[in-house]
């Protein structure tokens, strides 16, 4: 048993997607903090404040990948899972190059998301 629940950040600009994802992860006992943009997330994030970031690629102002390439993104020491609705090989390759721990195409199934989070947290299973 882990002493405290894992804390996951979700960044997605779609309110319903973000809210439903938060509820789903919370139903698995995770603590979730959500943001509608990477800029918002960067403003609130403090090192040691969380365990994993689930990041959407298509975001206003700065895209998920561009955020990862920025100094704030590069300075993150937590694993990042990138989600995209319109993925292609170029995005996947860039995500890998920028050190994302997983790359998921939307719609993301519950199983794959939980498995990706578990891997990112170094667990064999999500709970």
């Amino acid at each position: 048993m882990t002493p405290s629940p894992a804390k996951v950040f979700i960044v997605d600009d779609d309110d319903a997607v973000r809210d439903s994802l938060k509820l789903l992860l919370e139903s698995y006992g995770m603590e979730v903090e959500d943001f509608s943009s990477a800029v918002d997330f960067a403003r609130h994030y403090r090192p040691g404040g969380g365990d994993c970031l689930v990041l959407d690629q298509h975001l206003p102002m700065i895209s998920g990948l561009d955020f990862l390439a920025s100094p704030e993104g590069a300075g993150l020491e937590i694993p990042v899972i990138l989600m995209t609705g319109r993925g292609d090989a170029a995005i996947r390759d860039r995500a890998r190059a920028l050190g994302a721990s997983a790359y998921l195409e939307k719609p993301v199934s519950e199983e794959r998301l939980l498995a990706a989070i578990a891997r990112a947290l170094g667990h064999a299973s999500p709970i």
Binding site: D14, A16, V17, D19, S20, L21, L23, L24, E26, S27, Y28, G85, R86, D88, A89, A90, K106, P107, V108, E110
Partner: protein
């Protein structure tokens, strides 16, 4: 001077006259003819005097002359003049002007004074030389539709020698059904004076000697020559031009088809993405709700779980449908071949400017001298070029200076195609967003065109961008990998 001597002198005088002279008896027999007429028709005098007047007259001119001759016989007129055709020895046609009167000796004699119309003086020789040099074919017909002149260019166009057609009805140069109507057309014109083709050009079909037909532009003029009406027909072969237009027409239809498909595809992709979001949320909510019910201790046997599962299954089903649509759109592989960039770009430019309001635009095409081969779907790439050129033309609608520059050049392992205009140009902000769907500068635009261009170019492994042109205005530039590279990894684009 004796009577015999007088007769001989008169004979010599007649023979030496530059004009042909003959007398025919009332039964039509030729009873006398001078040497000029014999030469004109190619007969020995003895041979000619065995002929009858109607035998040396072209069959199609006989009735016309008979009418006049009857009036002469009835005393209604004293003489008549007529341009007609004689038939020489061997059947060759001799256009002549005949002045005829009656002389009465023992029998009624028909006197015909014959002028050779083949020699109308130097002016005509010059004119003929000029007409022969015109690349258009020229055919002259009389008012009965009989061909009187057939230029060397006409010989080349129709495949007939002049000698084969002069004297024949011009309808032999027309395929049915025009062939059968032509006489009636001419007759109606002579009756009513109503012009249907004279004085204006028209595109008609010509019939060659070998039976083949060809599109031609026919301009018909009318002239009075020596009191006689003739029609001149100038003929321009449209075979090549029509072929080019047909090809462009075909291409345009293909492009429109692809355009519709692409717009549908693009809209499908946008729709798929937009619908994916709420469906994903729905799925998440259902799963979260299920887990909440479990956490509340609701027994797994309660029907609420069955209902939640069914709802989740339907949400996933909708997701599958959308995924299928997207895959169909994205994997809609098209025919790719090795193509010469210069050729497909040139064709696309011609097409784009064909229907565009391109008046006043100076078009400059700078093609790479190197032959650049790419492995592409020709129609799709041409659609990109057409789109860019049309946009450029539209962008310059209000510009005082309208210059359109289209260039191809090699850029490393790629070929770069650029389309530059002298329109108002684009702001940096707009330039960034221009290739995304539903962004447009046009009042009536959908904003779909450039996003399709990007989709096509990127699917071919290239890039598209816009920059400010050196001369002001915008320059769109897209790249395509050269064939050599692509051939090595043929699935590079398909796997993306």
């Amino acid at each position: 001077v004796s009577e015999v001597e007088q007769s001989r002198l008169l004979r010599a005088l007649l023979d030496e006259a530059a004009i042909g002279i003959t007398w025919a008896a009332s039964d039509g027999r030729l009873v006398e003819a001078n040497l000029s007429l014999c030469r004109l028709l190619g007969y020995e005098r003895a041979e000619l005097l065995e002929r009858r007047y109607d035998e040396i007259t072209h069959p199609e001119d006989q009735a016309r002359e008979q009418v006049l001759f009857d009036r002469l016989l009835r005393g209604e007129i004293g003489s008549y003049a007529l341009e007609k055709r004689y038939l020489g020895k061997g059947g060759h046609i001799v256009p002549v002007r005949v002045t005829s009167a009656l002389t009465r000796v023992d029998d009624v004699l028909r006197l015909a004074i014959v002028e050779d119309l083949r020699q109308r003086g130097e002016g005509e020789v010059t004119l003929r030389a000029v007409l022969n040099a015109v690349p258009d074919g020229m055919v002259i017909i009389g008012e009965r539709g009989i061909i009187e002149s057939f230029s060397p260019s006409a010989e080349r166009l129709f495949g007939y020698r002049s000698a084969e057609v002069v004297g024949q009805n011009v309808k032999m140069l027309m395929p049915p059904p025009y062939r059968d109507r032509h006489d009636a057309f001419v007759e109606r014109y002579l009756d009513t004076g109503e012009r249907r083709i004279i004085g204006m050009g028209r595109i008609v079909t010509g019939l060659r000697k070998d039976g083949g037909t060809f599109p031609m532009e026919l301009s018909v003029g009318e002239a009075m020559v020596a009191g006689r009406r003739i029609f001149t027909g100038f003929i321009r072969d449209l075979t090549e031009r029509e072929e080019a237009e047909r090809r462009l027409d075909h291409l345009q239809q293909e492009l429109m088809h692809v355009g519709r498909l692409s717009e549908m595809g693009q809209m499908g992709a946008v729709l798929a993405h937009e619908l994916n979001q709420p469906l994903a949320a729905l799925n998440n909510y259902l799963r979260a709700g299920t887990r909440m019910l479990e956490a509340m201790g609701v027994a797994r046997s309660e029907r609420i779980f069955e209902v939640m599962d069914k709802a989740g299954a339907q949400a996933r089903r909708a997701g599958e449908i959308i995924r299928g649509l997207r895959q169909f759109v994205e994997k809609h592989e098209t025919e790719r071949r090795h193509e010469d960039v210069g050729k497909i770009v040139e064709e696309a430019i011609a097409l784009a400017l064909l229907g565009a309001k391109s008046g006043g635009i100076v078009v400059r095409i700078e093609m790479s001298e190197e032959q650049l081969s790419v492995f592409v779907d020709r129609i799709q790439i041409q659609q990109v070029v057409v789109n860019l050129v049309r946009n450029a033309v539209e962008a310059m609608a209000q510009s005082p200076e309208k210059r359109l520059t289209i260039a191809t050049r090699r850029d490393g392992e790629c070929v770069a195609v650029s389309v530059a205009d002298t329109g108002p140009g684009l702001s940096a902000d707009l330039a960034d967003r221009l290739f995304t769907p539903y962004v447009t500068t046009k009042e009536k635009g959908m904003g779909i065109g450039l996003s399709i261009c990007r989709q096509i170019v990127e699917a071919h492994g290239g890039r598209i961008r816009v920059e400010s042109a050196p001369a002001g205005g915008a320059r769109f530039l897209f790249t395509l990998p050269l064939s050599g590279q692509h051939a090595a990894i043929p699935d590079a684009a398909a796997g993306a």
